[in-house]
Amino acid sequence: MGAGVTVKGNKMKSFQRRRLLVAGTTIAALSLVLAACGSGNDSGSGGDTKQQGSPAAVDEALKAGGTITYWSWTPSAQAQVTAFEKAYPNVKVNYVNAGTGNDHYTKLQNTIKAGSGAPDVAQIEYQALPQFALPGSLVDLRQYGFDQFESAYTPSTWAAVHAGEGLFGLPQDSGPMALFYNKEVFDKYGLTVPKTWDEYIAAAKKLHAADPKKFITNDSGDAGFTTSMIWQAGGKPFSTDGKNVTINLADEGSKKWTSEWNQLVEGGLVSTIPGWSDAWFKALGDGTIATLPTGAWMPGVMEASVKAGAGKWRVAPMPTYDGQPVTAENGGSTQAVLKQSANPALAAGFVRWLNNGDGVKTFLASGGFPATTADLKAPEFVGKKSAYFGGQAINEVLTGAASTVAPGWSYLPYQLYANSIFGDTVGKSYQAKSGLDGGLKAWQDALVAYGNQQGFQVNG
C-alpha cells in the first residue's frame, strides 16, 4: 500500500497509519519472498519424499518425538495440548492462539504465501477447508491411512473434511442445527414450539404484535447462517470439480428458504442486532430475542456469555418445510496438517490423538459437541441433564439433529472471501428490508467474477 506517499502527516492518526504502514511493508516483504522463489506457487515442488507416509510412520514419529506448532482458538486447545504432552513426553507442542476466525486465517494465509512460518497443525473450520486444501497447502492424510477412520464420524462431518478426493483433517466438533428458544417468552405470549417454518413465521408475527420490542430471532445477514439455512432447505448452491465451479444461489433449495425467510425480513419481524455483539448477548438474556436456529455448540456459548438466560432456554428440533426432520450443519472445525510442516508424520499423529484418540475426552470435558458417533451415542452424553436449560437433556435433541443432517452439501473453494463480501451484497437487501433474492443474485455475480479472476472456471 502506498501509505508512504503521504507520510508527512504522520502525527495525525498515527495509530492507523502505523497499521497501514505495517500492512504495506508486510505485503512488500511477502512479495519479496514470493519473487525470490520465482513462480513460488503451490503444488508439486520437489521434496515430495517427506510427504510419503504410512500408518507405521505416524507411530514411529510419535515415539521418536520432536517439536510441532499448533494454531487454534478452540477453548479446549490448551488442555488438549497439556494432556497430549503428558501422553507423549517426547513431543513438544507449541500452542499458539493466532486469533479467532478471520484473524487466524489471514495469518495462516500469509505464512502460506510467504512459504515459511506456518504451523504444523492448524484448526480450520469446515467451511474454510477447501480454500486451503485445493491450492495444495494441506497434507492429504490418506497416506497415513486415516481414511480407515470413516466409520468413527458422522457422515456430514466426514464429508466436510474432504476436498475433492483428498482427506485433509479429522473432524473435531460438529454443529447440527437445532432451535433454541426462550421458554419464558413462549409461555408468556402463548406461543407453541414451531414444527414447520410456516408455524415459525406465525409465532414471529404473534410475538412482535404482542410486544413490538420482542423478536422471534435476530438476523442482520450472516453468511454462515444463510448457507446453513439453504443447506437445510435442500439447496446445493456450490459445487466444485477441479477448476470448475458452479454457483447457483437461486436453486430450488435457496428459493425454498427465501420464500419463507423473506416474510420475516420484509415484515421487520427479525431483530437487526448483529450476532456476537454485546447487545446480542444482552438480548438473548432479557427475552428481546426469543429463538435462535443455530448449531449444537451454542449451549456452551450461552452458559458462558448469557448468564441472565439461565433456566429460561430450551432446545427443540429445527422447524422444517414439511414437518419431516431434517437439519444442516452450522460451523464446526477440523485440525489439518500443513504442507510446510517439517515433520508431517508427527503432526498427523497429533491430529489423530486429538480427534480419534484421548483428545476427544478432553474436548468433551470442556463442553464441546463431538463429531464422533460413539460419543454421540454414549448414554452418559445423551442423557446428561443441563441445569442451564432447566434440567432438559438437551443432547437428546442435539444428537438427534446430528443424525438428520441433509447430505450432499459443499462450500465454495473460496468461502472465506465469499463470507467477507456478504454484507456488501445480501446485506444490502437486509438493510432495505427487501426480499433476499436480489441480494443473493448480487452475491452470486460477485463470486462468479472473483472466481474467474482467481483461475477457476465459474458458471453462475
Binding site: G4, V5, A23, T25, L34, Q431
Partner: protein
C-alpha cells in the same frame, strides 16, 4: 580535499538514507512493482499486466464510491473540526478564561485515548438497542436517533473523528499563538484595538502557517479513514461495506480476497490523489491571505 569532504558527508547521511530507502522507498517501489502484475490466488500464477490494474481501478465504481465518500467527509468534517479547534485555541489564549490549563488538558485528552478504544466507546453510545441512542429514543418515545443506520453513519464517524482530533489541532494553534511576542498585543492595546480587532489583525495572521499545516494533516487523515469505520463495521456490517473508504477497500482486497496486486494499485492511486489535493491546498495556503 573537496572530494574527501564530500565522502564524509555521505558517511553522516548514509544511515538515514539506508533506513529511508528500506522503510520508505522500498515499500513504495514494491507497491508499484506489485501493481504491474496480477496473481491468481488458486490457479494460473502471476502474469505481468502492465497498467491494466490502473485502468481497472479508474473504472471501478467501488473505488470511486469510496473515494467520493471520504471526499464528502473531508469537505464537511475538516472545516467543522478546525473551526472548533481554532475557537478553543483563541479562547484558551485570550487570558480571560478561568482555568485555561484545565480546559486545555480536557480538550486534548481524547487524543490521548487510543483510537480503537475511542471507537468502541462511541459504538456503545451509538447503540440503538441498548446504548445511549436507545435511551434517548425511549425518553422521547421515538426511534429517530439511529447513529448506526445508513444515512447517519458518516456523520456519526465524523463526530468521533472530530472528538478525537479537536484537541490535537487546538494544541497546534495554541502553540502558534504562544509564539506571538507580547509587545504586539501591547502595541495593539495602545492603538485602541479591541479583542476582536486583535484576533483579526494579529492572531489570525500569526496562525496562518499552523492552519495550513493542520488542514493538510486533516486532509491526509480523512483520505486514510480506516480505524473508525472498520471497528464500527462489527456493529453495522450491512451499512459499512468492505469498500466504505479507500483504505478499507485496499485492506479487504488484500486480506479477504488475496488480491494483493489490485490492492496495491488502489493504494497507489489513492496516495497520488491525496498528494495532489494536499499539494494544491499547500500552494493556495501559502499564496493567499486567509
Amino acid at each position: 580535499m573537496a572530494r574527501r569532504q564530500e565522502a564524509k558527508g555521505w558517511v553522516f547521511v548514509g544511515p538515514f538514507l539506508a533506513v529511508f530507502a528500506l522503510t520508505f522507498l522500498a515499500p513504495i517501489g514494491y507497491a508499484v512493482y506489485l501493481s504491474l502484475y496480477r496473481d491468481q490466488a488458486f490457479f494460473g500464477g502471476t502474469v505481468f499486466v502492465g497498467l491494466d490494474n490502473y485502468a481497472e481501478v479508474l473504472r471501478d465504481p467501488k473505488f470511486w464510491e469510496s473515494a467520493g465518500r471520504v471526499l464528502v467527509f473531508l469537505v464537511v468534517q475538516v472545516p467543522v473540526m478546525l473551526i472548533l479547534a481554532l475557537l478553543a485555541a483563541l479562547a484558551i489564549d485570550s487570558a480571560r478564561l478561568r482555568g485555561a490549563s484545565f480546559f486545555r488538558i480536557v480538550l486534548f485528552l481524547p487524543y490521548a485515548v487510543p483510537g480503537v478504544v475511542a471507537v468502541l466507546m462511541w459504538g456503545f453510545l451509538y447503540g440503538d438497542t441498548f446504548g445511549l441512542a436507545a435511551d434517548l429514543n425511549d425518553l422521547f418515545g421515538t426511534t429517530v436517533v439511529q447513529p448506526l443506520s445508513g444515512t447517519w453513519m458518516l456523520p456519526s464517524i465524523a463526530n468521533i473523528v472530530t472528538w478525537e482530533f479537536v484537541g490535537y489541532n487546538m494544541l497546534i494553534f495554541y502553540s502558534a499563538l504562544r509564539t506571538v511576542p507580547g509587545e504586539l498585543y501591547e502595541a495593539a492595546a495602545i492603538d485602541g484595538a479591541g479583542a476582536i480587532r486583535t484576533v483579526r489583525a494579529i492572531k489570525l495572521p500569526a496562525l496562518r502557517g499552523a492552519i495550513v499545516i493542520a488542514t493538510i494533516f486533516s486532509i491526509i487523515g480523512s483520505f486514510q479513514l480506516f480505524n473508525e469505520p472498520n471497528i464500527l463495521r462489527t456493529l453495522a456490517p450491512n451499512v459499512i461495506t468492505t469498500y466504505y473508504t479507500p483504505n478499507m477497500y485496499a485492506y479487504n482486497l488484500s486480506f479477504a480476497g488475496q488480491q494483493f496486486n489490485y490492492s496495491a494499485t488502489v493504494a497507489i492511486v489513492m496516495g497520488v490523489l491525496t498528494a495532489i489535493i494536499a499539494y494544491v491546498v499547500q500552494l493556495r495556503g501559502s499564496r493567499e491571505a486567509l
